[in-house]
Amino acid sequence: MMPKPSPKRIPMRAQKPEKRRYNFDEVPFGYSPEEAMAEAQRCLQCKKPSCIKGCPVEVDIPGFIGKIAEGDFWEAAKIMKRTNVLPAICGRVCPQEIQCEGSCVLGRKMEPVGIGNLERFIADWEAEQAECVKCEKRPPTGKKVAVVGAGPAGLTVAGDCIKLGHQVTVFEALHKPGGVLAYGIPEFRLPKAIVQREVDFIRSMGVKLVTDEVIGKSRSIEELFSEFDAVFIGTGAGRPWFMGIPGENSLGVYSANEYLTRSNLMKAYLFPKYDTPIVKGKHVAVIGGGNVAMDSARTALRLGAKESMIVYRRSRKELPARAAEIHHAEEEGIVFNFLTLPKRYVADKDGWVREMECLRMRLGEPDASGRRRPIPIEGSEFRIPVDMVIVAIGNSPNPLIPGSTPGLETGKHGNIVADPKTGRTSKKGIFAGGDIVTGTATVILAMGAGRIAANSIDEYLKTGEW
């Protein structure tokens, strides 16, 4: 009989909020081996584990946690990497509370097992070893796969396809691989050295990575077929949405994509050592309630904002961000303005944003997303003084490839239409997955789509059947 697990999980030690709000270093420190083993021992090792079903890439969760509990970290890492090529990233950015941990049986009565924390631990432990886990590769098939976009979807497809014995080349438009992991998620949440490490691992398996190549411009998808047998499109959510309200083009109004790209990819937070500049607002409003909004508000704080606030049209309960991000943001002193909708921005004579006029909202009946619909309260206009605004309300799919690939079926938002069970598009040999198909979603969902597409690519390359 196993001992009864303690009701609370082992907490992860983290930088104190009053200190970390001034630096870009990672917030949590991760588990020590002892902490990890103690947490792993809380796992009940269910015969029919529901956590695996909660994971888009179906990691063998009880398997790797069982090995951690025994102290066999090497074996745990091997189990992990069988299904997940980016564990250090997933452990940090997955919304575990609605996935694996949300399905954990312990969670019904007490705190669920810290699966994300353990995943992160094992990935970080492995990285510190002299040798890394080698993945078994099937014998070469002689088939070639092109992957367009080196984000979470593309890297997963690349990692899986190379394991399946195919040759893989990944094309990335930016100068660094990683996609949103490189340009979007800040250093304090996902250190870029970790992204580099995971990318290096995929490269070490034999994947060829080509940066600075804008497929759809320098080469079309059709041209790729002269060299490759199958193409996967994972170009992500591209074009940032704005609300289309007056004053939105004022100076000091950023899209989250631009703000975060400047800070993360271009390292504008290190200006003038790095050449890319960024506006350092003192009174910053971030519009939106997702992870990107939290990242933006917390970045603004670290860049010297006196006041950094979230402006969200629904209430706290509907915030789509990860629980940990909301918690960290609150700890750091981010101000939350719920039930608030910007109506227009007021600029000074030089065009700089100085105030935002907002409306108060109330919640009505649930809408298509299942969340209660926000309804403006008439006559409730009020103003907030700001000198910088970051619009973080999502993106539409990047138009470069749909626009340059005749015959590729697209949906009404410009997204590529692909079968969710196979990733197959309307054109033979072309697969797609991630945000380019679903619109703005999460890293792990993109990886899940990549996993599905990789298996389907393998089948297509074997049978030639579409």
């Binding site: 190549e213 003038p272 050449d275």
Partner: protein, 275 residues
């Protein structure tokens, strides 16, 4: 070196050279700490795998780019980006350019001439010492008019004065293309609007990724927000909000100044060390 502070580089970029069309641009990054710099593709030699860029040394990054010498390499070159110019037979097309816009309009004038248009080119410079590429432009134009602000060469006045004369002398102008400083493109568009001459301008807002991902380059065209990098860079000059563009170009003036001062100090310091 084309003129004071204006340089032309040829880059080895086979994939880009093969695909690039007039009006498109590239994004460069010189070094790991460098910013992404958008520059118009001024020419291509697809067979040699070469593209040409032209730039004016104004800020730190362009000055740093200017320090590179033949045989040096650039860390990143991305392209061809943006939509190509519309090149077809319009009839008579007036190409208007000023300063560093001159080399950028050369491939457009050439392509328009090849498409069977009568091309009248108007180039404006502050004074005769700054005149660029006169023979090259002459070779691709039916008529070339050079203006200088001080009258030290060619017609005294601005490009708009020369354009006005062309319109007033009765030449039927079917299209005007203007490339250069924002104020010049604004004045040209203002001039042609009452005459209902279709006018195309090539916009140069601040850009970051150049692939439609960030929205830094948003411009207001006919009341709609457009991204210059993927919706442009060419737009209908009669619909562009040039004042907004000019404002948005000033977002980083203090940082640009800081960066440049620091760069100058470093150069001086290095100079002392070398001496």
């Amino acid at each position: 070196m084309l003129g004071p502070g204006i340089k032309r580089f040829e880059l080895d970029a086979r994939d880009i050279a093969r695909k690039a069309l007039p009006g498109q641009f590239v994004v460069l990054r010189i070094r790991e700490e460098g910013e992404r710099i958008p520059l118009t593709i001024a020419d291509t030699r697809p067979d040699d795998g070469v593209i040409a860029i032209v730039f004016q040394e104004v800020g730190k990054s362009t000055k740093l780019l200017g320090t590179l010498e033949k045989g040096d390499s650039i860390l990143d070159v991305i392209g061809p980006l943006g939509n190509p110019s519309e090149i077809e037979k319009f009839g008579t097309v007036v190409c208007v350019a000023g300063g560093v816009g001159t080399p950028e309009i050369l491939p457009l004038a050439r392509a328009l001439t090849q498409a069977g248009n009568k091309v009248i080119t108007i180039l404006g410079f502050r004074n005769k010492d700054l005149i660029l590429m006169e023979p090259e432009m002459k070779a691709v134009s039916s008529e070339l008019i050079v203006t200088t602000d001080d009258g030290s060469n060619g017609t005294k006045g601005f490009v708009t004065d020369a354009l006005k004369q062309v319109i007033e002398r009765g030449t039927k102008v079917d299209r005007v293309i203007a490339v250069g400083p924002v104020i010049m493109m604004k004045m040209v568009s203002k001039l042609t609007e009452p005459h209902a001459i279709p006018t195309i301008v090539s916009l140069n807002p601040i850009m970051l990724d150049g692939t439609g991902m960030c929205g830094a380059c948003r411009v207001n065209v006919g009341g709609e927000t457009k991204l210059a990098c993927v919706d442009g860079p060419e737009f209908d000059g009669h619909k562009v909000d040039f004042d907004l563009l000019m404002q948005r170009l000033k977002i980083y003036l203090p940082q640009e100044k800081e960066s440049l001062e620091l760069f100058k100090k470093t150069c001086e310091h290095q100079g002392e060390n070398d001496a």
